[in-house]
């Protein structure tokens, strides 16, 4: 094992204990759920959980790519709103319409992401501002398409997304596929470029990495996943909402950070973010079971994000201190 080169197991553990936190949290939460409610840990429960978390998982994956390059994507919320509304409002009942509007939605997501990436690199404006601007534009467009929650979603469309092979839902299969895809991408030149840019953009540029291309692709990926998440939400809720996507901005960043992705870039990965997404959903579930009023849920979300980021900042500080 390469990880162990010249280091004992306890040293490796000491340096990486923060990376284990999301997994431990997830296991603890699942055990808690199992204790509170004996119905959990059945295949059916897992399947429902996978479906319920999948929208967040998708956005978090896209967000992770952007965070790894040291950027930010606040426009994911807007993109979810737009694609959610587009599909709910226009797709109709025909198969052709469903495919057409799904493809259009994904292309819209990619286009917005590409615009973000290009503008961020070309104009050198902070990612936060560019994506805040596109977020506002997207939110406006979503309101143009649907003034209030509504739309008409074909039952075939819902079936296609919530389809189950035996007990295994499509979402679970897709999560496995996406993890495998990520493990592959991580080792490609593109994957290396993403990490390199996040660690040190100038050094990456000097080493012949095409920073512009990588950044545009990264934001396009984020846009694509946000759009996909919007599509899935349409099936899940069977309607479109011009505002429902906005909460995903925070939760996607939280999921990535809980999963060990550093906001400063260059550290972390998609697998952690997926676990992070499940942790967030589990905490929400536990709160429901403990009969905590839902009015407190936003408070919990905010506190969770601060703790996760503070822990991650603390871990980084410690490492810097150790190496200095």
């Amino acid at each position: 094992m390469k990880v162990f080169k010249g280091k004992t197991l306890s040293q490796v553990f000491q340096e990486n204990w923060i990376a284990l936190i999301p997994y431990i949290m997830f296991i603890l939460l699942t055990v808690t759920m199992a204790v509170i409610n004996s119905n959990t840990l059945s295949m059916r429960w897992l399947a429902n959980k996978s479906d319920a978390t999948f929208t967040l998982v998708l956005v978090a994956i896209g967000q992770t790519f952007v965070l790894l390059t040291g950027g930010f994507d606040l426009s994911v919320g807007g993109i979810i709103c737009v694609t959610n509304c587009l599909t709910a409002a226009y797709m109709g009942q025909t198969t052709g319409g469903i495919i057409l509007w799904s493809v259009i939605s994904l292309l819209v997501g990619i286009a917005i992401g590409t615009f973000n990436g290009y503008m961020i690199h070309k104009t050198k404006i902070q990612p936060f501002i560019v994506t805040l601007a596109t977020q506002s534009i997207c939110a406006g467009v979503a309101l143009l398409i649907l003034k209030i929650d509504g739309g008409n979603v074909s039952s075939d469309y819902i079936k296609a997304f919530l389809f189950r092979i035996g007990d295994i839902p499509v979402s679970m299969i897709l999560i496995v596929v996406l993890i495998l895809l990520w493990l592959f991408i991580k080792r490609t030149n593109f994957g290396l470029a993403v990490y390199a840019i996040g660690s040190n953009e100038k050094a990456a540029h000097l080493n012949g990495i095409n920073v512009m291309k990588t950044k545009v692709i990264v934001y396009a990926i984020s846009g694509f996943f946000a759009a996909f998440s919007g599509l899935f939400r349409t099936a899940q809720v069977a309607s479109g909402s011009p505002t429902a996507g906005l909460t995903f901005v925070m939760t996607s960043i939280s999921a990535a950070v809980i999963g060990g992705t550093a906001l400063t870039g260059g550290k972390g990965g998609v697998v952690g973010s997926i676990i992070g997404a499940f942790v967030i959903k589990s905490i929400a579930d536990v709160l429901v079971f403990l009969e905590v009023s839902s009015y407190w849920s936003s408070l919990v979300q905010g506190v969770l994000l601060i703790i996760a980021v503070a822990a991650s900042a603390f871990g980084t500080l410690k490492k810097v201190g150790a190496s200095a």
Partner: protein, 320 residues
């Protein structure tokens, strides 16, 4: 005299241009929409300008240090409801209500500042999180149905006039003058710029960077609380989400005013012009019956263009 004008012009080009744009916009609208510059309409606009202006003042302080405050909406709303429920329409209760609300505002700002300066959390993340924490606090404590009413005194301040000019607007101008002196003429102001320009250099020249940052966020919390409280007087009925627009608008106004969003560059005078431009633009959009959706799109575009223009200018200056 000529050289004096030239000097002022070259030093404050951005600010002057921003005011000219605001004036031009107003002229354009008054020709396009007769009756827009009617005294009543101007009064309404100036009230909104004042309320946005208070939040922009706070946001400017924070942005000058290189930060960002996304938690204005719920600091604003929480303060507004806190004032309404504590006083419950009773003028006498304001004697202790106003200080308590303002202190709560400062504390919320300090919480932001401590997380950012002492714990090292990125400003965008910290304030995004605290924004929904403050939302959770308000909604959680009140069980989703906060109540109360604004006392007559607050209503008078918010909607009254002195010599035809809105009291609130005059109050904002007064606070702004104080702020301009604070930012441009005191060591504290210079430290704000120093921290935003180069944090390390500021640290090495003996500035307590963390304290400066915390105070900037504290001022922002204070201003949001003040704005929220006064807005309660303007609104008949308070509602959750009444502060939502101020997140985008405060940042957009600062950006339009030529303040660099990276920090350390720009002036509050420019941000004030940004307030006027946004308010006039808002008035135009609602006068032309343009729906909220298009307004959001226009905000996004305006924010983007404003930042694009100001960042281009900075790049050009650096090349020189």
């Amino acid at each position: 005299m000529n050289t004096f004008i030239k000097k002022v012009w070259s030093k404050h080009t951005t600010v002057i241009v921003t005011y000219l744009v605001a004036a031009f916009l107003l002229l354009f609208v008054s020709i396009m929409k007769p009756g827009y510059t009617d005294i009543n309409n101007i009064k309404v606009l100036s009230i909104f300008a004042a309320i946005l202006g208070f939040t922009v003042l706070g946001q400017t302080m924070v942005i000058l240090t290189g930060g960002m405050d996304l938690s204005i909406p719920w600091m604003f709303t929480l303060s507004s409801f806190l004032m309404a429920s504590m006083s419950n329409g009773n003028n006498a209760a304001l004697i202790y209500t106003i200080p308590v609300v303002l202190i709560v505002g400062i504390l919320m700002g300090v919480f932001n500042g401590v997380g950012i300066a002492y714990v090292g959390i990125a400003p965008v993340i910290m304030t995004m999180a605290t924004n929904i924490i403050y939302q959770g606090l308000l909604v959680g404590i009140s069980g989703g149905m906060p109540g109360g009413a604004a006392p007559q005194f607050i209503k008078n301040v918010a909607t009254g006039t002195v010599g035809g000019i809105s009291i609130l607007f005059l109050f904002w101008l007064f606070v702004s003058v104080v702020a301009l002196i604070l930012i441009n003429r005191t060591p504290f102001g210079r430290k704000l710029y120093a921290v935003g320009n180069n944090e390390k250099a500021a640290l090495f020249s003996g500035i307590n960077v963390k304290m400066i940052k915390v105070s900037a966020y504290a001022i922002c919390g204070f201003m949001s609380a003040l704005a929220g409280m006064l807005y309660a007087g303007r609104l008949g009925q308070l509602y959750l989400g009444m502060g939502d627009e101020y997140q985008m608008e405060s940042i957009a106004a600062v950006a339009i005013g030529g303040v660099s969003l990276i920090g350390g560059r720009g002036s509050y005078a420019g941000a004030m012009a940004g307030v006027f431009i946004l308010i006039i633009l808002n008035g135009v959009l609602s006068a032309m019956n343009i729906p909220q959706s298009i307004q959001k799109i226009i905000y996004g575009v305006v924010l983007f263009l404003a930042v694009l223009i100001s960042s281009n200018k900075i790049n050009r200056k650096k090349q020189k």
